[in-house]
């Protein structure tokens, strides 16, 4: 089946190549991007591209909406194997090692020739660069980046006689408050949960917040080792399991990522953990006053960063690489980074974006927008290794097994580590 699809892709790519016109005066590049949060993202991107083309008439960019992050890397790599890779794309920062191993991308260092360009490479928050650099080279430029934050319903806090302006600061506090916030009807069925941490799709990301707070690291910087079975990691998982099974303040089993904001709007849950990328969505749809807080602490605070970076592809010609680099620079100027953050809720990726007048006015009006930024000094790099998809899936499977009661926490993490060791052996 695989080969058949591969062949089909190749034929398709060949057909595309035949119909493509000979290179005109303008440099043509195609740009793949995913959409991972609510809102009219495709329209925003089209507007940005039109703006860039107006200022750079010698470049013709074709923006291609390519589904989720997962779909995007699948499409990009399939297109690449068919000889038709895009020239620039937004892909998860964690797929850096995969893209390097596939020999798909070029580092930005070679494209940055002038002193201004070199300064550009160091204009971003260091927390975002951790997933963008390896081996002394910069492979990705931060674009739609986020961290995990906690949203809380102030009305629900009042009803439970809690101070609506004080979110929990520690793990213990969160468990205690969640107990007060959990409401049951006469039949004992829960009508409002205290807290929920989603666990469908990519539970490892939310789990990494818990492990970071418990002082554990999940991988080394070279992306060749994972530490899934360390005691701090198991302890973090046990805390998550206990919220549901022991304290009964968190919904049992797998909590859906996609419906978590809706659960919050419908008052089915009083506190939720989710991405800052949902900020604009929550602001529009929550019919009650809400707060945004940094995640509670155990040994320390913190959250992994997340989201997508710009990558430039190796198969592009030097002119195309130059055009792509100009586009990337244009998309991440302080003003545009600020505007993108305001439009979506993603964290503006560079400190000077927060000094722009647009951003200052936005934060003055809506202080919650700055919470993710203030959490950045404590943020860590998102789990990323060689064979990233596989190594991450090993952890996801272990987490889901433990959360649904299939395996005890310790065994689940030991099995996940064993699987990761098996996969990463070839890279050590």
């Amino acid at each position: 089946m695989t080969v058949r699809r591969g062949l089909r892709t190749t034929l398709f790519a060949a057909a595309m190549a035949l119909t493509a016109l000979p290179a005109a005066a303008a440099t043509k590049i195609s740009f793949y991007y995913p959409v991972a949060v609510g809102g009219p993202i495709t329209k925003l991107i089209d507007d940005y591209v039109a703006g860039f083309e107006k200022e750079n008439p010698d470049v013709d960019i074709e923006p291609v909406y390519s589904g989720s992050y997962q779909d995007t890397i699948t499409k990009v790599l399939t297109a690449m194997k068919g000889g038709n890779a895009p020239q620039v794309a937004v892909i998860l920062s964690t797929d850096m090692f995969t893209l390097i191993d596939e020999d798909a991308i070029v580092p930005f260092d070679g494209m940055a020739k002038t002193p201004e360009d070199k300064a550009f490479l160091s204009a971003f928050y260091p927390a975002f660069m951790e997933n963008s650099q390896t081996g002394g080279k910069t492979w990705g430029i931060p674009f739609q980046r986020s961290t995990i934050v906690m949203y809380w319903n102030k009305d629900a806090f009042k009803e439970a006689s809690l101070d609506p302006e004080k979110p929990p600061r520690s793990w213990d506090e969160m468990a205690q408050m969640a107990a007060k916030l959990t409401k049951r009807d006469a039949g004992g069925n829960v009508t409002q949960w205290g807290v929920q941490i989603p666990s469908s799709g990519f539970p490892y990301w939310l789990f990494q917040a818990l492990t970071t707070e418990n002082g554990a690291k999940l991988m080394n910087e070279a992306g060749t080792e994972t530490y899934y079975d360390k005691p701090e990691v198991v302890e973090a998982l046990q805390y998550w399991i206990d919220l549901a099974s022991k304290q009964k303040v968190h919904p049992p089993g797998i909590v859906e990522w996609g419906t978590t904001p809706k659960d919050f709007f419908e008052r089915k849950v009083a506190m939720m953990w989710t991405t800052t990328g949902n900020l604009t969505n929550v602001r529009k749809n929550a019919a009650f006053p809400f707060g945004v807080a940094m995640l509670p602490e155990k040994k320390r605070g913190g959250s992994p960063t997340g989201g997508g970076n710009f990558y430039v592809f190796k198969s592009a010609s030097p002119e195309q690489q130059d055009a792509a680099f100009r586009f990337v620079k244009w998309m991440t100027t302080p003003e545009r980074a600020a505007q993108w953050g305001i439009d979506t809720g993603y964290v503006a990726v560079r400190p000077d974006a927060w000094e722009t007048s647009a951003m200052k006015a936005y934060v003055a009006d809506f202080p919650a927008a700055a919470v993710a930024r203030d959490q950045l000094p404590q943020a860590t790099a998102e789990l990323s290794t060689h064979e990233n998809q596989r190594v991450t899936k090993a952890l996801n499977d272990g987490l889901q097994a433990a959360l649904t009661g299939g395996k005890p926490a310790k065994q689940a993490m030991e099995d996940a580590q064993k699987e990761a060791d098996r996969i990463l052996k070839a890279y050590r």
Binding site: V3, L7, I100, G201, P252, N396, D397, T404
Partner: protein, 297 residues
């Protein structure tokens, strides 16, 4: 003249082969060549960046033995086949008998039973995704009226695979019903009348006359149902992505993940070869073994 005689002998052969050519060319390009190519790449390592593929013999197959997800998806697939095939075939037969009778509105009923088959699988999966959504979905809304708590049908390993089976049975039964209906319509009424003259009851007629005459259809339906069970992937992609903890990972979905998420094409080719072998064995087994028994003599 010997030459001309040879020519006139060859002509029908050339003619025949020319007629076959379009079909043969398509089958060779899109079925036989990919199958052989999959077998060939399954004996090689996966090319990565600058590292080309090299011959590794049966290493990919040895890795399969150590791959827990492979074994789980194989087992899931067996459960999936056992859960969906007999049930959808039985329901198809019941529906066919029902709409074959002289009842009012039978055309509408036939249409209704056939509707799920006409809907695209992706649409079906999305509809059912809504039914199953905890809290907001149709099932929980209805159960909620009776004061029952929310159930996370797709989020718990115990119910996720059965939930997918329900969708499959719902979708497949109508399709198989059409074959049964056609067979029932083709059945000469004289056989039934003869049995009635002999004083046989309805159940007796069904068991001794109708069912045996339907056996060739049952074989055909069975082969198709089993193959479909091992080919299911769209449902999994839309509804669960194989989760939670691989509880709904079917073989073809595992192949997709290995091939297009991990880009381990060599290993994916080995898995594909195994799937093809399973399907071939099942099809041959059913045809050779059951074929001897299905014909009414």
């Amino acid at each position: 003249m010997p030459d001309r005689r040879l020519g006139s002998q060859l002509a029908p052969h050339v003619h025949g082969w020319l007629l076959l050519l379009p079909a043969v060319a398509l089958l060779a390009a899109f079925t036989y060549f990919p199958a052989v190519a999959a077998l060939w790449s399954s004996l090689h390592s996966t090319p990565k960046g600058a590292r080309p593929a090299r011959f590794v013999g049966l290493d990919q197959y040895a890795a399969m033995v150590d791959d827990p997800v492979f074994w789980q998806s194989l087992w899931n697939n067996v459960l999936f086949a056992l859960g969906t095939v007999p049930l959808s075939v039985a329901i198809a037969l019941l529906m066919a008998l029902w709409v074959n009778g002289r009842i009012r509105g039978r055309t509408a009923l036939r249409m209704a039973y056939f509707t799920p088959t006409m809907l695209p699988m992706i649409a079906v999966a999305n509809i059912w995704l809504f039914f199953y959504t905890p809290g907001y979905g149709l099932i929980d809304q209805v159960l909620g009226l009776f004061g029952l708590p929310d159930t996370n049908w797709l989020g718990s390993p115990a119910t996720a695979l059965p939930a997918l089976m329900v969708v499959t049975v719902w979708k497949e039964a109508g399709f198989f019903m059409i074959f049964y209906l056609a067979a029932l319509q083709a059945m000469p009424p004289s056989l039934r009348e003869a049995a009635m003259l002999e004083g046989a009851g309805r159940w007796c007629i069904f068991r001794r006359v109708t069912l045996p005459l339907l056996m060739p259809t049952t074989l055909f339906v069975l082969v198709n149902a089993v193959i479909n069970a091992f080919r299911t992937v769209d449902l999994v992609v839309v509804m669960t992505r194989g989760g939670p903890d691989n509880a709904t990972a079917l073989l073809l979905y595992h192949i997709y993940e290995v091939g297009f998420r991990y880009w381990d094409t060599g290993y994916a080719a080995a898995l594909t070869t195994v799937l093809v072998v399973i399907l071939v064995v099942l099809a041959i087994g059913q045809f050779v073994y059951l074929d001897r028994k299905v014909h009414y003599r």
